[in-house]
Symmetry: D2
Subunit: 328 residues, 4 copies
């Protein structure tokens, strides 16, 4: 059992705490949060202790640090943990500022940081099965890719204002998926975005709808469709077109129940909430972190993946703003 | 082009007339019907002539006779046509009375009747594909079979009264499908029927809902589900379970359009009317009749198949009445 | 946290132990098993103690007893636990002998036994959703029902020999589902069974394939399809036909991944193992037991449901043997 | 019955000839083709006469002219027919040269041409149902659109060389669909194309794979995916995302047959050939032309729609060439 310190007792911190508690390979030992009440409640629930960051990093019994604090602290806390010799589980995104993230690269490298950047979708069983079967050549060599990622409903405008914008906050997941599945680096980005869902999002300087087109060095193409509101649930689909066919991952439904009535056949609703849709993925992230702590695996997603996704997000935001294709 | 005489200008007669007209292999030459106006209208529409049965049978330019008159005349007209040396396309069922049908066997045999008994489902492209793939062993040897045949809505009670009952009128199609797909003779029949849809059907001495269980000599099992009203369209499905897997034919939908909304994903309605559902099957029946007329094929469904299906219908009706299994 | 004593450390006992351990509402305190090593291993894994049945029942801190021992002990252990004032979670089936189960009814009643008979399918989210929507009238009043329950592969013949036969061992689940969904008592049973999968099962005096037809007092009909080997995975489906439409629960697939290739579109495999297929159901059973222990609910499935399902199983076995319908 | 002169006895001409022959509202009277043998064969098959264009246009009994000749003659023949007062059914595309097509606008307008430009997909029952339900607001106001159009296999390179390029030859269908479904004019086009299927297509100066992103004046977005080879059949799908949900049209399968085996559930192949896939659409085009001839309807797709689709195709080709967004 590896002892883990968790930084951040908010929504995503609670998810990770529960999965740490359910795992037999790791143990939630310390909870760090500037809001003492939140830290105390979460620590109490799982038999952990409230801690300062300093104490946690100084404790030699702590093997790993899970950074689930606010985005602007991800880089600093991850670096501090790595410098203290801890393995790091860092929530996405690495940072909202590409220059800042790039500037930190050398320091992470100097301490041989074992940093796992937690892009949860890579750990979803459906997407993982798709990636594995695609990589094994079941549909031949990949040529083009469609990623659809539509949220059920928009977040509060207050969140939008600090989110870094739709490309860094939301599409960044899809940039990581695209890099993972396309199998080569992306060389061109074009994006077009609109305010079609909520004018308040536009007033906040952001968009709520976007289509992004990526092109790799050899000419593979990827289209990403993004929307802050679907009206029909959480739409998370991928279609990969290869030389011999197509492989895709469909949405998860609430149940397998169908009703056949006068108007046709109706399947159940899509899973509507990302914590349901990716519940298994979050648990598998913890399992992967335990593999890293065991020394059996290096992180499947690392610092450089975080930087690369952020670079794509910045490029897409720029393209949407200027109307011009961005070369990387 | 083979000249055809059509007996019967009612609903099913009109269907066959249109398919005869659309075919390049046969020509609708004569229309026979006791209702002169109906005969004249249909003949006029397709450039055929109104005729008596006698004249049609005496005309040497007529190669085939299509019997689509009322059920109680099927046997007599088919026999007359066969005795006149014509190929016969006989609408199902052969007759409502098993003893009468059996009694006619010798006479049909004596004239070497070329009689095609038109069980339309064998000519449905979906069921035909299922049968072909099943017979080719794609799921191994067949073990059991489920046939679902639910009508969208019950027929008028006046029709029910002369229909011969649910087993002879409706389930007879499924008895033929079962014989076709099971690949060996049926030795036992058990049926249970109810009046759940319309009490008037019960008052008329018939049932509107039934489940029938068939067993073959080697122990293969078949379940047939029958209902006069589905509430959701025309439900025509088959599932065949083999030693290596299952093969099934699903329902036809009106279109491939789906709507994803708050309550889930909704496909389009099922095709609701048997003339739509089996439009292709009826056209393919005419094509098969042309093959017979060309001398290239013997009828895929013959007199003895009609007798066998009728025997199963009578056995099922008896079982439903007595509560006892009927051995054949 | 209610303390639970688990009787039985075999395959199903281990499943329940894991779910007890994962629950925050109950605690696995004692493990009872004649095989001391098995008990010690399971107790050790979950921080429980090895115990005799007597000690467990005498311990006032134990609130509930989970009976997961061999079938022939279910009745005795459940009764002993009930007499000791414990709530009882009894694995299905109640017993293999209908007369013996009936004879015990009075004694369970005298001690006001709080007995939950764990028919796991009622707790499957898909079937539970189907039942709930059916009961709420979404497809009108139920008229007929199809239950398909095909195992991926047959059990060892040694298991078959002590299983009580296909109807008591396997179809008993479906009898419970039928009673649950049909909404009224079953008055007639007809069954036909065959040996089509493995002759050794026939040599052991059992069948491996069966179709059972049930009829309720008002004429509702239910068909149950049973097979010990599907060739395509664990086939667990229900279709309920109502006056306004049909509601059904489909199979669970391993993932939502599809491949489109030359031969068509291929979905992923069906979940192949009952412990995967019903993993959620087993966890929800524990939750329901916690509700009973809290005093908030009476058991959703009780002693009398176990007796009723067993009565149907005996009737079906008799019908298959004699070829005659059995009236209840 | 309106008499029709058909210009062009090639592959698509034969399709239209068969549908003219099958219709009861129009009659194929004359066939015009520079290849006399082809004209004679087709005319003979349908009881029409071989004719020169001049004679056909001079014949007052001819009401309509169906232009199915080579693309470079569409404009001239259509104009000649319109000047002769005939209704015109013009195969797509109007022309390969936008400037030339625009230049002809005034002359078509001066003669009040009744020209129906036959974009067949608008007449496909699935896409027509999608458009109708979308327009009726079933998923709210449209926001974004995905159109997938992948051919089963690439055409011969000799065809590619004279095709006008992927955007004018193939994607032009999708530009028309986008205009039809988006409900407002397109103001920006960005396209990226690659040679991933066949290097010979690249050598011929064309691409075989493309993604095109369209933007309307109000910010609605549309992504079009194009490929000359799918490896899995003819992939023709549309997904329209509205404020209240999504509506889509799926592919047509060869049959409704599925096989469930060890590796999962396999549906039948997609329809593989455009003449099968759009057989009903072609027949409905003739019906629409008959409506125009009856004077009951104006053309649903006209000259200006052909110009607009061509303008989008030229813009997309330019964008793919330059890497720059094209404003319209």
């Amino acid at each position: 059992m590896h002892n883990i310190a968790l930084i951040g007792a908010g929504r995503i911190g609670k998810i990770h705490a529960a999965n740490l508690a359910a795992s037999r390979r790791v143990r939630l030992a310390r909870v760090v949060d500037p809001f003492g009440d939140a830290a105390a409640a979460l620590a109490g629930e799982h038999g952990a202790q409230v801690s300062t960051l300093e104490d946690a990093l100084a404790d030699p019994s702590i093997s790993g640090v899970l950074v689930a604090s606010s985005t602007d602290t991800h880089l600093d806390y991850s670096l501090a943990a790595a410098e203290a010799g801890k393995a790091v589980f860092c929530e996405k995104p690495l940072d909202q500022d590409l220059a800042r993230a790039r500037a930190a690269t050398r320091r992470f490298s100097e301490v041989d940081a074992r940093l796992f950047l937690a892009f949860n979708r890579r750990f979803d069983p459906n997407f993982a099965a798709l990636q594995s079967r695609l990589a094994s050549g079941e549909v031949g060599a990949i040529e083009t890719l469609h990623i659809i990622s539509h949220d059920p409903a928009p977040p509060p405008v207050d969140y939008v204002k600090v989110s870094g914008g739709i490309f860094k906050d939301m599409v960044i997941h899809d940039f990581d998926m695209a890099r993972w599945l396309l199998g080569e680096e992306i060389s061109e980005v074009f994006a077009s975005s609109s305010v079609l869902v909520d004018p308040a999002i536009g007033d906040a300087g952001d968009a709520d709808t976007a289509k992004t087109l990526l092109r790799t060095t050899s000419g593979r193409l990827c289209m990403i469709s993004s929307s802050r509101r679907s009206g029909y649930g959480y739409d998370q689909r991928i279609e990969a077109f290869g030389s011999k066919g197509m492989i895709r991952a469909q949405n998860q439904l609430e149940s397998t129940v169908e009703i056949w009535g006068e108007t046709g056949a109706a399947a159940d609703r899509f899973q509507n909430f990302f914590l349901d849709r990716y519940a298994v993925a979050y648990a598998r992230e913890i399992d992967h972190f335990a593999d890293i702590l065991d020394g059996n695996m290096t992180p499947l997603v690392g610092f450089e993946d975080g930087v690369a996704a952020l670079a794509l997000a910045e490029a897409a935001a720029r393209s949407a703003r200027t109307g011009e294709r961005v070369l990387l």
